[in-house]
């Protein structure tokens, strides 16, 4: 038995395994957004009624931008969270959503059933989604009063987490 080899080998191996085990808890879809701290990409889109809404018009208060689609299960699940928060922060935070790879007809039918908590914007050719680096839905961007991206949430938002972030931005 070569004790030196055993000793050195185990010293190299043990921390590696601990580290990798810790990594298992990590969510690979949480891609770090390069937009954090930078100005949010500008957009001017039409909502389902044909009204124009641009991000620049909303400057001065925090904006929550949620990318979603009717075919997305987690999006449906986070719908009541946004509805509740939009009521709670009415007049202080703007909540808007951008429709991702979906049709206005499907969105209208969906909103008739489940209600709406803010303007849903049509994004032709997903150009805005591409500018925001959206990888899948749902993804939510929190933009502060100065128009800088404060935070990106990949996947479903949580009521408490979003509340904390909004309080920090106000």
């Amino acid at each position: 038995m070569n004790r030196k080899v055993l000793f050195v080998g185990l010293i190299l191996v043990a921390p590696l395994l601990v580290m990798l085990a810790s990594g298992l808890r990590h969510d690979p879809r949480e891609v770090i957004s390069p937009l954090i701290g930078r100005p949010a990409p500008e957009f001017a889109l039409l909502d389902l009624e044909g009204r124009r809404l641009s991000l620049a018009d909303l400057r001065g208060q925090p904006v929550v931008v949620n990318f979603w689609a009717t075919w997305c299960q987690p999006c449906a699940a986070e719908n009541p969270i946004f509805a509740a928060l939009a009521r709670r922060y009415a007049g202080r935070v703007r909540f808007i959503s951008v429709i991702y790879q979906d049709t206005p007809q499907a969105i209208r039918a969906y909103e008739r059933q489940r209600g709406s908590w803010g303007p849903a914007l049509v994004d032709p050719d997903s150009r805005t989604a591409i500018q925001f680096g959206v990888y899948g839905v749902p993804e939510t961007f929190l933009i502060d009063a100065q128009g800088l991206v404060h935070e990106k949430v990949t996947g479903m938002v949580s009521f408490d987490g979003l509340t904390r972030s909004l309080e920090a931005m106000l």
């Binding site: 080998g9 395994l17 298992l24 690979p28 032709p124």
Partner: protein, 666 residues
């Protein structure tokens, strides 16, 4: 029906692997020839079972049997047939099944090829391969079961495989090549462990080790290159390598495998570096498992990552088992593999090999640290970080230049005891070539020190390797009758010709990488129909966008008329493809490849008003990267073929390389 059949076959394979492992180790310990022969037959049977399971899955895919969960996950009626077959490895569960097929094939192949080797060696080797087989078959049987029945209601159609994988024919060959390289590393690992268990690494077994190391190394080289090529042709950012964790995962074992190929040569030749070579081979295998874990467990962020899966913990357990078991076996048995006494000095070929090993290992550690750092940072400081290209490039450039220098001076140096005057002469002789290389590079517009150094070192190395190759054939012709001499030279020298050819391939690749990454010209613009943009001597005129519906996607193609230096150079059609699935549109760049440079067009977006966003990149020498790697692989193949033939035909012939050295430079 397929579910039940598939699961039964996989369970049978699991049983065979378990039985085989027990039988192999038992027979090896007793040195029982009959027992080892029985274990070998189990290896063949195991391979047949894996092939059968894979065949069943392909049948299920082709017949769109959505009652099989994997088919429901990746199948789609609209997907063309060849893509349907390829979707076997487009998603996690299927890729593990394919892994099992490759492992089975390699196990059976090694069992057959080495059937006449010492029974204890073969027994331990098969035992080790079966243990690896148990793990992967277990994955297929349980955590990553592709044959699981779809829970009702059974869908009538599926989403189809990941659109990225449907976009380019390179995706059909890149994964299998990579798998052949990755999985194939199990065989040299098993051979190395067998040497440790048996306490013997003799000539016969060294030769087997080298052969079975070269095979997967060749495939891995090819696989890594095809991955870069694919990302260049498909992803649309104009590059071929981004130090993405998964690219790194394939690169790490490649570095140690290349180190091992060289140290195995020293071992074969001089009998030194015995334990060192074994350690390198073991580390290479461990890195393949680590790399697979990183890819399949969702530990790192990457475009390649399969999302969080149940196989993560199982893989970690296997990785832990392999790491700890390797350390223990090495600690217990390494001292049995003492090297022959050596009289090395630095200025010999062995010295060059040592430095080569050192550089490759430094490179490997740099990449490993860069790849694992984000995990460590998240664990220790709870922050998410990513390690960018500059970190890797800072190390990659000097190490690559060092390796290029070694490709030049290594083959020029004599083996063994070196006479100072000869060494000086051998090293100074090609200096004019280096100066010429420097001047040519400067004249061609090279101004950064990295490119100039690459030019000079490459010219030096080309001179030495050509000189060595030609010298070899000259020598043979003088001593013997002409016909015999050529045959003899090719047969005996094939390994060296192959090596010099591979070196030339490496030089070509290095130069192409240096040039292409230093002199790129890019231009972006928004064009309306009829408008043009110019980039590096090209005039690009946008004519129109065609929306072409295909069964599984809608393809928006921008028709671009190309003029090069005022002359018509045809058209290019970069495209954006929209799939019926849930991803953003995927671009297919259009590339016009010429011997000296590539024109690369990437369609960024198509506006509602008919305008397009276009990115045009002109990169010199890109095609030579692929050509260089093809040369490396061809060299590897030449190294292998005659050695393999000689090995099976004249088993107990004396090793020609052991004879006094005739071809050293002097």
């Amino acid at each position: 029906m397929i579910s039940i059949l598939g699961r039964s076959v996989v369970l049978a394979a699991l049983l065979l692997a378990t039985l085989g492992a027990v039988m192999s180790f038992a027979a090896a310990q007793r040195g029982a020839i009959a027992g080892v022969a029985r274990a070998r037959r189990l290896a063949y049977l195991y391979a047949v079972m894996m092939a059968l399971a894979t065949g069943l899955m392909i049948y299920a895919l082709v017949s769109h049997d959505f009652s099989v969960s994997y088919v429901a996950q990746v199948g789609s009626l609209a997907t063309p047939l060849h893509i349907t077959i390829v979707s076997l490895w487009s998603s996690l569960d299927g890729s593990i099944l394919f892994w099992g097929l490759v492992l089975g094939t390699f196990t059976a192949g090694a069992a057959f090829h080495l059937r006449r080797s010492a029974p204890d060696h073969v027994g331990y080797m098969l035992g080790t391969l079966f243990v690896v087989g148990i793990f992967f078959t277990f994955l297929i049987a349980g955590p990553a079961d592709p044959f699981a029945p779809t829970p009702p209601p059974i869908p009538t159609d599926g989403p189809g495989p990941n659109p990225l994988l449907q976009n380019h024919p390179l995706m059909i060959i890149h994964p299998p090549m990579l798998y052949l390289g990755y999985v194939g590393m199990s065989v040299p690992f098993a051979i190395a462990l067998a040497a440790l268990f048996a306490g013997r690494l003799d000539r016969d077994w060294i030769r087997s080790l080298r052969t079975w190391l070269l095979v997967p190394t060749g495939f891995l080289t090819m696989g890594v290159m095809l991955g870069g090529w694919w990302s260049y042709e498909v992803l649309g950012w104009g590059g071929y390598w981004a130090w993405d964790p998964v690219e790194n995962a394939s690169f790490l074992p490649w570095l140690t495998a290349i180190a091992a190929v060289h140290s195995a040569l020293v071992l074969q030749r001089k009998g030194t570096l015995r334990a060192w070579t074994v350690v390198l081979v073991v580390v290479t295998f461990l890195l393949t498992i680590l790399g697979t874990f990183l890819t399949r467990s969702g530990v790192v962020n990457s475009v390649h990552s399969f999302t969080q899966t149940p196989i993560g913990p199982a893989f970690l357990a296997f990785l832990g088992f392999c790491l700890v078991a390797s350390v223990i076996v090495l600690a217990m048995r390494m001292d049995t593999l003492a090297s022959d006494p050596d009289r090395e000095t630095l200025w010999t070929r062995e010295g060059a090999f040592m430095i080569n090993n050192l550089l490759l290992l430094v490179f490997m550690f740099t990449v490993l640290v860069g790849t694992l750092f984000p995990i460590a940072a998240e664990l220790v400081r709870g922050v998410k970080v990513s390690v960018g290209e500059p970190y890797f490039n800072r190390m990659a450039i000097p190490v690559s230049l060092g390796l290029l220098l070694l490709i030049g001076i290594g083959p020029a140096l004599p083996w063994g005891r070196a006479d100072n005057r000869n060494v000086r002469r051998a090293l100074l002789f090609p200096i004019p070539a280096a100066i010429a290389g420097l001047l040519v590079t400067f004249a061609a517009g090279g101004r950064t020190w990295g490119v100039l150094a690459t030019g000079a070192l490459a010219a030096y190395a080309v001179w030495v390797n050509l000189d060595q190759g030609l010298r070899l054939s000259r020598k043979r012709r003088e001593d013997e009758p002409w016909t015999e001499a050529v045959g003899e030279a090719v047969r005996r020298g094939a390994r060296r010709y192959g090596a010099y050819l591979a070196h030339l391939g490496v030089i070509v690749t290095f130069v192409a990488i240096a040039v292409s990454s230093s002199y790129q010209t890019a231009q972006e613009g928004t064009l309306r129909p009829g408008e043009s943009m110019t980039v590096a001597g090209y005039k690009l005129t946008f004519e129109r966008v065609d929306a072409r519906p295909e069964p599984h996607r809608i393809s928006d193609r921008a028709l671009m008329r190309i003029e090069h230096n005022g002359k018509d150079a045809g058209t290019l059609e970069p495209a954006l493809n929209r799939y019926d699935t849930r991803m953003e549109p995927i671009g297919t760049p259009a590339v016009r490849t010429a011997i000296s440079h590539d024109l690369y067009l990437s369609l960024m977006n198509v506006g509602t008003d008919g305008s397009i966003g276009m990115r045009a990149i002109v990169t010199p020498a890109v095609v030579w990267i692929w050509i260089g790697v093809f040369i490396i692989v061809a060299g590897t193949a030449i190294c292998l073929l005659p050695a393999g033939l000689r090995f099976s035909r004249r088993e107990d012939a004396p090793e020609p390389a052991a004879k006094p050295v005739a071809e050293t430079t002097a």
